[in-house]
Amino acid sequence: MEKKIYLLLIFIACCSTIKAQESTDLDLLRAPISPASNLLGFAQSEIDKPTDVSDFMASIQSATNAYTTLPSNYAIDLAPFWLLRNKVNMGDISTVGLEKSSGKNVLKQTLVLSIAIKNPDSIAAGFNHNSTYAGLGFRFSIYRGDYDFTTKQKLHQIAELQKLKLSFIDKKADSIYDNLPTEINELKEKRKRIFTDFDSNDESADNIALGELLYKKQSKLDSIISIKIEELFNSGEKSEDSKTIDDKIKKLASEFQLARVGFSWEVSGGVSNEFRQKNFNNSKLYNAGLWTTLGYTWEKSGALLGILRYLYNPDKIFALDDLTNEIKNISTFDTGLRYIVGGPQSKFNGSLEAVYRSVLNKDTYDSSWRLMLNLDYAVLKNQKLTFSFGRNYDGTTNDDNNLIATLGTVFGFGNKR
């Protein structure tokens, strides 16, 4: 079946009129992952996404030529919650904690700040090469959906196996502590003697300082005792039952994918400024946008997404993507719908999307719309075959050049995640 779908996609693509387009947006209804970078025309691959403070510092150091200059062309996405993971109270970030669909933690966990700086060269369309552009954006989810049936089922299966595993661990731990070798018992007694004559009821600053010192001395013996107990725990053959449980958990856990269904609501926005003659005292608003994406994903019958999008000075004047916006100070409002066929964990996905664009502050331009069909098939975990087919309409009939179709493959190198 999978092979047939694969061959069918290749066949459809070969029979279609393929029109090369420099930049075809295949899923307009997806709010930008990185709003500021999107406003300034950065590709996803050009955006730095540091996962911790060290990564972030390395990124800044590289962009600023070791802190000696201002970044020239630089885009970065910062997820404060994950970036400062060791500095803030994370709450529960295990699969149980991440299950929540909404609330304070969801906002914190999904918040992404996007920053971009661009010094365009003379061939960059829509930009003045004598200016510097800077953008700032944000993105967060208000609702992110609930775990789907498969995710819940796998978590339940893992939990049942872990219950069995813990019962083995508890029995072994009890047995070890009930029969501790003399050597370990002596070390434990020695550890207690560190606190001989220490008064834990005295909470004066001096006594607390003394307590800290004794704790340091104690922690050395803690390490020695812990290592010896770990050796005892790991000694001896693992029972067949225990091995089987480990294998089953590993199989389930390695294939585990966290997928969500139900209602979702995401908000993104961004604004960018143009600094004329690269002078920070001479600036004007270049473009801006505010998006909200609402959707509902069903277990089996796909997902319906709706978008409301306000753009100030968009890069395209119509919903179709082949006419660059040459007019300034224009505002547009997009409404769109997208229906996606295929479950959250299925290999084959198809979507049909429609976008309607209204020009808000210029009577010269009529509203326009666009329709697009996208198909994709996950050949492997990190390889996708994609097919897109669409028709758009700008108010004037043109039968020749409004059909676009592209066939592409997306390959991920390295880890198959």
Partner: protein, 125 residues
């Protein structure tokens, strides 16, 4: 990378009636855990998935000589990291203590078992 999956320690208490609290944080992002907590032979909680929110486990004066046993198993279901960790926080005794335990698994899906034995000890008695 060094690993630390077993903890055996003393937690110093005094003769007051101040509450001693326990909190467990299971990390990292997207991992799946189960925990049993016992105080002497009585169960504090069984088959707990995820974190153990800060809660009282007894008063200083009542805890001397008792043993807190925490056993946790963490399955690496995370797509972003292979590091598993368990952080134990005890407060309300003579000093607040945080015990970080961690292990990096070799491949996705592996499990790490953590065993912790904390004896409450009042040196003045």
């Amino acid at each position: 990378m060094a690993t630390n999956t077993t903890l055996d320690t003393l937690y110093i208490v005094n003769s007051s009636n101040r509450k001693v609290t326990l909190e467990l944080l299971v990390g990292e992002e997207g991992q799946t855990s189960l925990t049993n907590i016992k105080l002497n032979n009585g169960s504090v909680i069984t088959d707990l998935a995820g974190n153990f929110e800060k809660a009282e486990i007894g008063k200083n004066a009542d805890l001397n000589g008792k043993v807190l046993r925490i056993t946790t198993t963490i399955a690496d279901t995370s797509k972003t990291t292979n590091l598993t960790s368990l952080t134990i926080k005890l407060s309300g005794g003579f000093l607040t203590r945080t015990y970080p335990l961690f292990k990096l698994v070799d491949s996705e899906g592996e499990s790490v078992d953590y065993i912790c034995n904390i004896e409450f000890f009042n040196p003045t008695l």
